[in-house]
């Protein structure tokens, strides 16, 4: 495999150059700040892109045009305009809330989201948080989000938010099991929890092809559970507008509400990104064994394009589901998880272990 776009060389050169003019700890601090700013910028920019995408995709499903006035023909500036509007809105705090927890909750949600976001492998050498238990960290960090949701519902001192939070909490905690098990299935196959190693292991073929039947089953389970984890339809009952107005974030306004909204969209991106990483080869180009010319051409496409391309494909799939199905009821959601999804995830895990032991994976 020819890797033309490895960022590792570039980052080492920058690091070496900085170390040449200042002590290493200063260089590291500066690098951390720069990377941090990049993460937050990327986070915001991707959220804007995704909101725009969601609006256009759902418009297409609903025989509409979608945003088409602000910023020329495609309505490109609609979302930035909305962001600007929400930024300058008053953050209103109702009188009876628990002030501290009420203000803390949105930050917990966004924190969890940024943590997991930082673990995504953007390109070869473009992994920001690199550790040998990367996938495990992602699962752990993403669970902080549910704490924020529960706190938001509890501290708002309203029956609607409380019910929304309880529903959401029960659902997310349940579906984390399925996510965990289906991720574990792929870890069993790949033999590593290191995100970089996971991607590198897919150089000769994406995991979904290498792991064939159990991998495809795990992918489906992951998509369903991931959809629930991201609180999106048909699992969006946390904010079931029809009975609970807006669920746990009913009492939030301005940018506090914006954080919940942002985190929800980015969780969708993260869910898709992790799916891409562990099932669809991350930034690895598509290689077909035997077609050397084709493979060589694919290598010319940068890794980040592959990563974003695959991620947005998965996002499109999830959007398609959201805009097609009605919402499930809380007991149906929990039944689905505990009676069907989790047991089948366990079966798939056993199946994958068996296949791996017998050497039936490619």
């Amino acid at each position: 495999m020819n890797d033309y776009y490895n960022l590792e060389a570039l980052t080492s050169v920058i690091h070496a150059a900085l170390c040449g003019v200042m002590p290493e700890w200063v260089a590291l601090t500066i690098e951390c700040v720069i990377v941090g700013v990049i993460i937050i910028l990327l986070y915001a920019v991707l959220a804007v892109i995704m909101i725009y995408m969601e609006r256009k995709v759902c418009a297409a499903f609903q025989c509409r045009i979608g945003p088409n006035r602000v910023g020329g023909k495609g309505g490109l500036l609609q979302v930035p305009a909305d962001v600007l509007k929400i930024l300058i809105k008053e953050i209103f705090t109702p009188a009876h809330v628990d002030k501290f927890l009420y203000s803390l909750a949105p930050y917990l949600v966004i924190l969890a989201s940024v943590f997991t976001f930082s673990c995504l492998p953007w390109n070869n050498g473009g992994l920001i948080l690199h550790m040998n238990i990367g996938i495990f960290f992602v699962l752990a960090a993403s669970s902080i989000g549910v704490l924020g949701i529960l706190l938001a519902g509890w501290s708002s001192d309203s029956k609607y938010t409380l019910m929304g939070a309880m529903r959401s909490g029960a659902m997310i905690i349940s579906y984390e099991l399925s996510i965990g098990i289906s991720v574990l299935t792929m870890v069993v196959m790949a033999g590593t929890m290191d995100i970089h190693e996971l991607v590198m292991g897919q150089a000769d073929g994406w995991n979904i092809f290498k792991g064939h039947i159990p991998a495809i089953l795990a992918f489906i389970i992951y998509l369903i559970a991931g959809n629930a984890e991201a609180n999106r339809g048909p699992f969006d009952l946390a904010e079931a507008e029809q009975e609970l107005t807006a669920g746990y974030h009913t009492e939030y306004s301005g940018m506090h509400f914006g954080f919940f909204y942002l985190a929800e969209y980015m969780n969708l991106f993260i869910t898709a990104g992790i799916a891409t990483t562990i099932f669809l080869g991350g930034w690895m180009p598509l290689h077909v064994p035997g077609l050397d010319g084709f493979n060589a051409v694919m290598d010319y496409i940068p890794g980040i394009v592959w990563f974003l391309g695959k991620t947005f494909l998965v996002i499109f799939l999830l959007m398609w589901i959201r805009w097609t199905y009605p919402r499930l009821r809380i007991d149906q959601i929990l039944t689905l998880e505990w009676k069907y999804l989790m047991p089948s995830a366990l079966v798939v895990l056993v199946l994958m272990t068996f296949c791996t032991l017998m050497g039936w994976t490619f």
Binding site: Q62, C63, G233, E241, Q242, E243, R327, R329
Partner: protein, 539 residues
């Protein structure tokens, strides 16, 4: 005939004038007569269509009860008067017909008639601290200045009972159980389809009681009508059930025409019938949209609205109105149909037949829709009849209650159409009834649209219409059930009392029966499948 039987056997019973065939029975005999009618062997009057409270001035306060047998189709109407204006008491019939539970509250609210034995004598539409009884003729319009303080809803309701010695005794009942988690929903809520408010008792996510609190869009239309001339009253009907605007107005026009002896031309009947059916399709498309939206499916919502828009365009061309058309007049319609009307309607129906399969493909067979609708929100046939749930909701419980078949009007006796009934009694059946009725309405229109005869679209009427003395009624099948008009005329140019049978009031009352034991999220789906419109309930 029951009517003659009552007049013969009950001492003091007399027939009132008008087409309704109302029999006045003495207060002392009323309860016995009502029980006799309800449990009659041959034709039990199991459907209480309406309880209308009336202030007859010198004669006293009382009510008119309209009932019908679902077995034989026979009808009866009783009038009962209490001459004591200070403490007007009538015996309740809520143990015979459940629908009286809410209809008697309405009579209490407007006229201050207390029904002894009724377990829940609260006001229905007006504030609990309202002063006076507005539909009484001696009501002082100045007695309730605009109040800006919040209304506090009582948690206790009162039942009045007559002791053996004739004195009155009050017994208090709590509305909710001690351990109920009471959640308020509305009046401003995304999915109550208007300003409806419900207090919902919950045990976890399971509903223990639904207590509707009505009146947030109450405009006192019946009171207003008492000071309007007959042509003026027409304007109010469009604003009752705005998705059956045309049909409601049709009912009032028919009632006045019947009473005044005005014959409309064939052409008018054709136009009215076609418009009624277009309105029905319009309403059912909106029903589909709202149901799917309430269940969280956004995409099919737009399908319904896309097609509904085409109907509104057709309405606009002919009538000038889109949502409410103001098209029917006494003796005909406002204006002739637009030259392209027939062409457009035919094109629309052809289009609708093409797209309806899409509606079903995206929603009907969907596994989530199935699990959320099938077997949920059961309303048995007996309950549907007893609660007076007419329209699609009743037909989904196997009760064939279509007014177009029962008391045919317009051209419905001349055309071939099926009455859609389902036996599922659940939300899914209620949904399917409406979807099938869309196709049935298409069939009706197709049979009529090519044969509209030439003729006058409006018969000349006198500028001031006076109805002969008596109680006059008419009923039509609107998009969501039986809409009835009752006019009591004393020979003036304004009605003495004009009452509209709300199609939605029984449906809101039935929410408690349908929702108990189901989850909070089901309440939304059940409410959407029952398909009520709030301005029609509150009037």
């Amino acid at each position: 005939m029951k009517r003659d039987e009552i007049i013969k056997t009950i001492e003091g019973a007399e027939l009132c004038p008008g087409n309704a065939g109302v029999v006045k029975v003495p207060l002392s005999q009323f309860r016995k007569v009502a029980e006799g009618l309800r449990y009659d062997k041959e034709s039990p009057m199991d459907f209480l269509r309406e309880v209308v409270g009336v202030d007859w001035g010198e004669e006293g306060l009382g009510a008119v009860y309209f009932m019908e047998s679902t077995v034989t189709g026979e009808t009866a109407a009783l009038k009962v008067v209490s001459d004591d204006r200070e403490t007007a008491l009538l015996p309740t019939v809520s143990d015979l017909w459940k629908t009286a539970l809410i209809k008697e509250r309405e009579a209490y609210d407007f006229l201050g008639i207390r029904f002894t034995g009724h377990p829940d004598m609260r006001r229905l539409f007006l504030r609990e601290d309202w002063i006076g009884w507005p539909l009484r003729k001696d009501y002082d319009m100045k007695s309730n200045p605009l109040r800006l303080d919040n209304e506090i809803n009582a948690d206790i309701t009162r039942e009045y009972r007559l002791r053996k010695d004739g004195t009155l005794e009050g017994i208090d009942h709590p509305i909710f159980g001690e351990n109920d988690f009471v959640v308020n929903m509305g009046p401003q809520h995304p999915s109550t389809h208007g300003a409806l408010r419900m207090r919902i008792g919950l045990d976890g996510e399971v509903i223990t009681k639904v207590d509707p609190i009505l009146g947030y869009i109450h405009r006192g239309i019946e009171k207003m009508n008492e000071s309007l001339t007959y042509p003026q009253t027409l304007g109010m009907t469009d604003r009752l059930d705005y998705l059956s605007a045309h049909q409601s107005r049709h009912a009032l026009c028919m009632c006045i025409e019947k009473a005044a002896g005005i014959e409309v031309t064939e052409r008018v009947k054709y136009i009215r019938t076609i418009m009624d059916e277009l309105q029905r399709i319009d309403s059912h498309l909106l029903f589909y949209s709202c149901l799917v939206l309430d269940m969280g499916a956004m995409t099919p919502f737009f399908y319904g609205f896309r097609e509904r828009e085409m109907i509104l365009d057709i309405f606009e061309e002919t009538t000038g109105g889109r949502l409410i058309q103001h098209y029917n007049l006494i003796g005909g319609v406002q204006d002739d149909i637009h030259p392209t009307f027939c062409q457009k309607v035919k094109e629309f129906i052809a289009h609708l037949r093409k797209v309806i399969p899409d509606y079903h493909r995206i929603f009907t067979g969907n596994v989530i829709a199935d699990t959320r609708l099938k077997g949920v929100g059961m309303l048995s046939k007996e309950d549907a009849i007893s609660l007076g749930c007419t329209g699609g909701t009743g037909r989904a419980s196997g009760w064939a209650n279509d007014v177009r078949k029962r008391h045919t009007y317009g051209l419905y006796d001349k055309i071939d159409f099926k009455q859609i009934t389902y036996d599922g009694c659940d939300s899914f059946s209620r949904y399917m009834v409406r979807m099938d009725e869309i196709m049935e309405s298409c069939r009706i229109i197709e049979q009529l649209i090519d044969n509209i005869p030439e003729g006058e679209y409006h018969v000349k009427t006198k500028p001031i219409i006076k109805l002969p003395e008596g109680i006059w009624t008419s009923a039509v099948e609107t998009s969501r059930g039986e809409f009835g008009v009752m006019i009591e005329s004393h020979g003036d140019k304004t009605p003495y009392r004009m009452h509209f049978r709300s199609t939605g009031l029984p449906l809101v009352q039935a929410m408690d029966t349908m929702c108990r034991g189901w989850k909070f999220a089901d309440l939304i789906a059940i409410g959407a499948s029952a398909d009520f419109v709030i301005p029609d309930i509150d009037r």
